[in-house]
């Protein structure tokens, strides 16, 4: 499909008739936010029309109009993505799902919740907490939609114990690129019923269908949680401790590593200093932030004692305990603000923020040597590099930040050189391109390098079966026009 259709005034009227006139925005009425996600460096593009959809039927009706007129459609959640996945790079229609924000019902016999796709993660998490329940996936951005989380298979802090979003999706209602409505999966907890189209949808970044309703698995909330802040003098000791928790039968809910430099940046940004910088005269160079959950205080006391012994045997300077809700919140506030904090230190050039990111996942035993390698490459290229990550999953977020002396073009060029090198190195060490932020338009090259032409071709053919006219979120994941 080489040529897309144009959005004419008649088509806008048809969309209004299928939805509601006051929920359809055209031309100059569209706000700039709809042209990008959280990473402007990957480029911006304004859509021709934005529709605030409120039901599956509306999404289907709009999709049919687009299908009949060959107009590209990009589904959009809260626009918090990090790979340009919701940017309508060929213009056309953006279907904004954030008005589909109802938590419909809980089924506590089967431990599932039925939601519309635009419910924010934060709203579901709070609603569950109020009822003694937990929706375990916990990506850093709490104001993303669940549809967006599912479409990127978001991971997050608790993935090390509870798994990623994929593990919590039981069923979904989907509008296909033809406008047909279908349902994948069911409330049941296991299945062996043909190809799992449900799993194909998860992580498909709005390229195969538009998710409108979700049935998500929930669990009873653990009674107690406690976090440990563990300072180390050396990053290598810090990271080398990570696999030891599991070997010693400790099963943390979250296990994050962070370097001193990024903690300093983040605490400056948050305006609160809770991480110890020096203890007994030893300067902290890196930290682990570990959370355990359990059903009683006594159980947790024993766990943190064992975990602390382990950390101290592995050269931790000391172990600090966040044992109250306020202390847990403060310890995690610094961690959760890393991206915003990094952004606050980056410069803008030509309307783009000079910050680029890589979200690789490597085998646990490769984290330490890999991170060392990354810094060497960064140094060689004269780039400022900051890294942190879900250490327990081997998932690293590596950022490079441009200063005011570099131009946009030069920054992009050296960032590309940097990422070409470190993605290749991750591949050599058995890693994959994206742990959880997905591919979008930004990481397609690296996906192709990583999985090879055959797998790219299979993905493209799958895409064609779902989307014969190639109109749904074109230019993403596996298929360039």
């Amino acid at each position: 499909m080489a040529e897309f259709g144009k959005v004419t005034p008649e088509i806008v009227e048809a969309i209004k008739a299928a939805t509601a006139p006051n929920r359809v925005y055209f031309g100059a009425d569209i706000i700039e936010d709809f042209s990008h996600d959280e990473m402007t460096i990957y480029g911006k593009k304004m859509p021709d029309v934005v529709v605030d959809a409120t039901s599956t039927e509306e999404v289907s009706a709009v999709m049919k109009i687009a299908y009949d007129n060959d107009i590209p459609v990009t589904p959009r959640g809260a626009g918090t993505g990090l790979v340009g996945a919701c940017v309508p790079i060929y213009g056309g229609i953006v279907i904004n799902t954030t008005k589909m924000n109802k938590i419909e019902s809980y089924d506590l016999d089967n431990f599932v919740v039925h939601v519309q796709c635009g419910v924010l993660l934060n709203d579901l998490a709070e609603d569950c907490t109020r009822q003694g329940l937990m929706y375990p996936p916990d990506p850093g951005e709490k104001f993303a939609t669940l549809g967006g989380n599912v479409s990127t298979n978001a991971g997050g802090m608790r993935a090390v114990k509870y798994g990623a979003t994929r593990d919590y999706v039981r069923a979904m209602t989907v509008v296909l690129p033809t406008g047909e409505i279908t349902k994948f999966g069911s409330t049941v907890s296991k299945t062996s019923s043909g190809y799992s189209l449900l799993n194909l949808m998860i992580g498909s970044e709005g390229t195969l269908g538009i998710i409108t309703e979700l049935t998500l698995k929930i669990i009873p909330a653990p009674q107690e949680t406690v976090s440990l802040v563990i300072p180390f003098e050396k990053l290598s000791d810090c990271i080398a401790t990570v696999p030891k928790f599991k070997i010693n039968h400790l099963n943390p809910q979250a296990l994050e590593f962070m370097e001193r430099a990024i903690v300093d940046v983040s605490e400056r940004y948050v305006g609160k200093s809770v991480y110890p910088k020096a203890l007994d005269g030893v300067e902290a160079g890196a930290y682990l932030l570990v959370t355990f959950d359990g059903d009683s205080k006594e159980e947790l006391d024993n766990i943190i004692e064992t975990a602390s012994e382990l950390a101290l045997e592995n050269e931790a300077i000391d172990v600090l305990v966040a044992d109250t809700p306020a202390k847990i919140k403060d310890a995690w506030a610094a961690r959760s603000s890393f991206l915003e904090a990094i952004k606050s230190e980056s410069n803008w050039k030509d309307g783009e923020e000079l910050i680029d990111e890589c979200d690789v996942v490597v085998p646990l035993n490769e984290i330490a040597p890999y991170v060392e390698y990354v810094y060497q490459v960064g140094d060689k290229l004269g780039l400022r590099v900051e890294s942190f990550g879900h250490a327990g999953d081997g998932n690293l977020h590596i950022y490079t930040i441009g200063d005011d002396k570099i131009s946009l073009a030069d920054f992009k060029a050296s960032a590309e050189q940097f990422f070409d090198d470190i993605y290749a190195e991750a591949g050599r060490r058995g890693g994959l391109v994206s742990g959880e932020h997905a591919i979008g338009s930004a990481k397609m090259k690296y996906l192709e390098n990583s999985v090879g032409a055959t797998q790219m071709k299979i993905m493209q053919e799958i895409k064609k079966v779902f989307d014969p006219k190639m109109i749904l979120n074109p230019g993403k994941v596996c298929y360039k026009l």
């Binding site: 802040v229 809700p325 306020a326």
Partner: protein, 272 residues
Amino acid sequence: MEILVLIKQVPDDSVDIQLDPSTNAPKLDGVTPVTNAFDTYALEMATRFKEANGGTITLATIGDDGAVSSIKECLAVGGDKGFLIKDDSFADSDPAAKGYILSKAAAKLEELNGAKFDIIFAGKEATDFSKDLVPAYLAQELGVPVVSDVIAVDPADGGLLVKQETDTGYNMIDVATPCVLAIQKPDYDPRYPTIKNKMKARKAQVPVLTAADLGTEADKVGAAGSLTKTIGMHAPAKKQAGVKIVPPADVENPIAAATAQAVSIMAEAKVL
């Protein structure tokens, strides 16, 4: 210096607490009990003072057995010993009665410690009912000076030099010891316990002091000893949703357009 730090256990203040319509009392099921945030600031300030000037920190709380966990938490971050003040007759005490009970407790603890307290630290308020009065009543009972909204304290000329936060800045106040200081949030945060201190605190004994131990008089505690009485509780009025101002995308100066919209909304609401 001998230091007493008063603490109170309160429901987690980061949780939005509702009134139970059937009893009209706060619904506290599932809400974690925590040490009052202002008391944790008081303890941190006292601990820094102790580290700089020497001394011992005694902790005391009026509460039920559950409050022992707060004492133990505080023992891990600076407290040297802790006591639970508990008696059925203390139920329904208002701030005046609590001031009286704590004055008797201070005297008893001085007897047990074999030394007089130089400074009594307390949070400026408890985050549950925010009455803001216990430190003042306690000082009145003890006949000692009290300074509210304290954000720093240092020794000076046989007494203390205290920094008090005000709406417009701060006051520097010379105060003689013994005294009561009601602590406001300073510009640092309470420390995290080290695992070693936490394990030590877990094993610590927390003795209980009853009305008999303190020698409190029955008509000065509980409802009988209170000057005020709670007759009912009401949920605060719900805030109305805000108005989002979005200037049209095609205007040349969106900030000016948004400001003009805001001004006209305010004019319409007759606030301008």
